[in-house]
């Protein structure tokens, strides 16, 4: 009888236990550094590019890297990104979040002691965010158990480095991790794919031991300050071929420079034969061509909440910003003509209050062709169609192009900026001659959202519309102003959000990378112009090489041509 009872009890217990029983990885883990110690603990010296399958774009970026760039305020407190952080000394803590009713694991949470980074690995099957979502240094992760191996895939990672010697990792990086537990050891394998800077996946592994006494973490109360008096608008970098320290690593260990720079080929055992034969030359591969820029005109317009009162409308060409509140609706840019009714419908879904104000960041058709529809649907306090505000350069350009009067901004300004209050927050407009001579950036102070127009993009190189008065120096001035306005949250993710003219929601870290790129490319072309190079020679020298895989070769060509023209004329 007792035996029957015990059996029944056992069955009840088994039945009531969830069917899943994954290996437990919860606990505090600390790195073991017997492998790659020199790289992982003391860190590297200049010119250590070994063991990473960089392509020629990665090499160019690393050649240009001047470590003094981290003295710029926006760079000082940036943490390592996911593709990098496990390579340093660190401890991390893993715990589970379980569904209260089913006890299924919804997510693993990880706190990484270095830089105090927090991760969530979603286990509930949710999809990754859309392309227009903001990126973070730790990215967005989903996981799945395959037997006793936890496999995690992470996207939406911010640009940073694979190594502090300047090997870049782009914001298009995908990281696949495998967590494999053996007793009190945890093996961590990373497979990093980066179409911009790697020619093949970068695979590395680390071992971690379970800690009996945890919480030996580094409290990263980073505070950016003017460490070294320097012009914060000047980006330290080396012109191609002018890096004075790039061969230090090779010299230190008596290695051929070609091998140190060798990329993927030099990471295979067969390369030893080449070394032995004293023929270490390698050919770095180009990154694969960037997929064509996604069509920005969708079948439907989607509204995405950015922060505070501000939303971004996606799918109608250039990005549109909508601010809503008690006083009504304000719309920044209105998209392409074919989507204007859908733009209006999307605005109406956000708020049925009257559309009072509109702002145009430039005169471009993909930003302003819904002007008439949205304006006519709105109403100022005086009963007129919604007022369209823009710099007077926009009105001049639209007049020149014979755009209908109902599309033109009649409420213009000519000074450096203007401000007004609407829906309980101050709104600032700043004018720059950047993409055109009528560009405005718009800052919503209460919501802490900055709308950049085409001064900042995440999809292509800047477009300098020369007939419309575009200027590379003006564009840089606009980007520097944006960096003055943006304030990141503690740990450098979020804070002020930026809606680019085209592309995904961004923050200061994204803007500073774009600013650095524009500054560096301009400097390179300036140097070539000074040396009397023709446009064809400049193009052949590929001054945008390290960014081509990120922003596309087609827009690179146009960017180089326009910058060359502007700088040649200045000469």
């Amino acid at each position: 009888m007792l035996r029957v009872g015990l059996r029944a009890l056992f069955l009840v217990l088994v039945i009531s236990t969830p069917a899943f029983s994954q290996l437990n990885i919860v606990g505090e883990w600390a790195g073991r550094y017997h492998e790659d110690q020199g790289d992982r603990v003391p860190g590297d010296v200049n010119g250590d590019f070994t063991g990473v399958p960089i392509n020629e774009a990665g090499r160019r970026y690393a050649e240009s890297w001047d470590v003094r760039r981290v003295n710029l305020l926006e760079h000082q407190c940036q943490p390592y990104n996911l593709a990098h952080i496990y390579r340093g000394p660190l401890q991390f803590r893993i715990w589970e979040e379980k569904h209260p009713a089913t006890q299924e694991i919804i997510a693993y949470k990880i706190f990484i002691g270095t830089y105090m980074q927090s991760r969530t690995i979603w286990m509930d099957g949710r999809p990754h965010p859309p392309a227009h979502a903001p990126h973070t240094f730790m990215g967005f992760s989903t996981g799945k158990w395959n037997g006793d191996i936890l496999t995690v895939r992470t996207t939406h990672i911010k640009k940073e480095f694979y190594r502090r010697s300047g090997i870049p990792s782009s914001d298009l990086t995908t990281v696949v991790e495998h967590y494999i537990r053996h007793g009190n050891l945890l093996s961590h394998v990373m497979i990093i794919t980066d179409p911009v800077y790697l020619s093949e996946p970068y695979v590395n592994s680390q071992e971690f031991g379970l800690m009996d006494r945890g919480n030996q973490n580094w409290l990263y109360n980073c505070e950016y300050k003017m460490e070294v008096p320097m012009d914060q608008t000047k980006v330290p970098h080396f012109l191609p071929g002018a890096n004075p320290v790039q061969d230090e690593w090779a010299k230190k260990f008596g290695l051929p420079l070609a091998g140190v720079w060798g990329g993927a080929e030099s990471t295979y055992p067969e390369y030893m034969t080449k070394l032995a034969a004293n023929t270490p030359a390698t050919t770095l591969r180009s990154g694969p061509a960037l997929p064509p820029r996604p069509n920005e005109v969708h079948t439907e317009v989607e509204a995405v909440h950015v922060q505070g009162n501000v939303y971004m409308l996606v799918g109608a060409g250039a990005n549109i910003a909508v601010q809503i509140g008690d006083e009504g609706v304000l719309v920044v840019d209105t998209g392409v003509a074919t989507m204007r009714e859908k733009v209006l419908a999307a605005i109406r879904k956000l708020s049925t209050k009257p559309i009072r104000w509109m702002i145009n960041t430039s005169a471009d058709a993909d930003h302003t062709s819904g002007n008439e529809t949205v304006s006519q649907a709105g109403q100022t306090l005086n009963g007129n169609p919604a007022d369209i505000i823009a710099h007077e350069g926009v009105l001049a350009r639209m007049t020149e192009l014979n755009r209908p009067i109902t599309e033109r901004p009649l409420n213009t300004y000519f000074e450096d900026g203007r401000d007004f209050s609407f829906n309980g927050e101050a709104i600032f407009l700043y004018h720059f001659d950047g993409h055109t001579n009528g560009d405005s950036i718009v800052y919503f102070r209460g919501s802490d959202v900055l709308v950049a127009g085409d001064i900042f993009l995440t999809t292509t190189f800047p477009v300098l519309d020369l007939p419309a008065g575009g200027s590379v120096d003006g564009l840089l001035a606009g980007l520097n102003k944006m960096l003055q306005i943006t304030v990141p949250k503690w740990l450098q993710d979020g804070g002020t959000y930026v809606i680019p003219g085209h592309g995904r929601i961004s923050d200061e870290a994204d803007v500073v990378e774009f600013r650095d790129m524009v500054y560096i490319v301009r400097d390179r072309i300036q140097d070539m112009v000074k040396r009397g190079m023709t446009l064809e020679q400049v193009k052949a020298a590929r001054p945008t090489l390290d960014y081509d895989g990120r922003y596309g070769v087609e827009s690179a060509t146009k960017f180089v041509e326009t910058v060359y023209k502007l700088l040649s004329e200045k000469k």
């Binding site: 000082q76 340093g88 502090r164 580094w218 409290l219 109360n221 460490e227 008096p229 320290v245």
Partner: protein, 132 residues
Amino acid sequence: MKLKLFVSVLAVALLAASQARAHHSFAATYLEDRTMQIEGKLVQFQFRNPHSFIHLEVKDEKGQVVRWSVEWGGAGQLGSQGVTNETLKYGDIVTIIGNPGRVAEDHRIRMTSLRRKSDNFGWGQRPGEVVN
């Protein structure tokens, strides 16, 4: 016992390394095989992460005052060595020895030792007083 001591030393070293490794590579910023000395008036003490900085007003050969930036350890690392945000004060006259920056015009130095004139307070002479 020896093993325990070794393990503890290793743990401390790794923890310190984790703090030091962050931010940037010293080797890339400074000429680590050279040293120089400067003396001047302390005008700012940034006791902070990722690294602390001291700003000194130093007279050059022509008698012109030049602002020098002296890089020190992170607040956590220095704190474990007994340094606080009150250790140095505005107006202190200090002598710094350290590695010069690779770019001379930056007027920067990575501190290896410090001596304050008024009370002979020093850093960098005792074991463990290093920035790594």
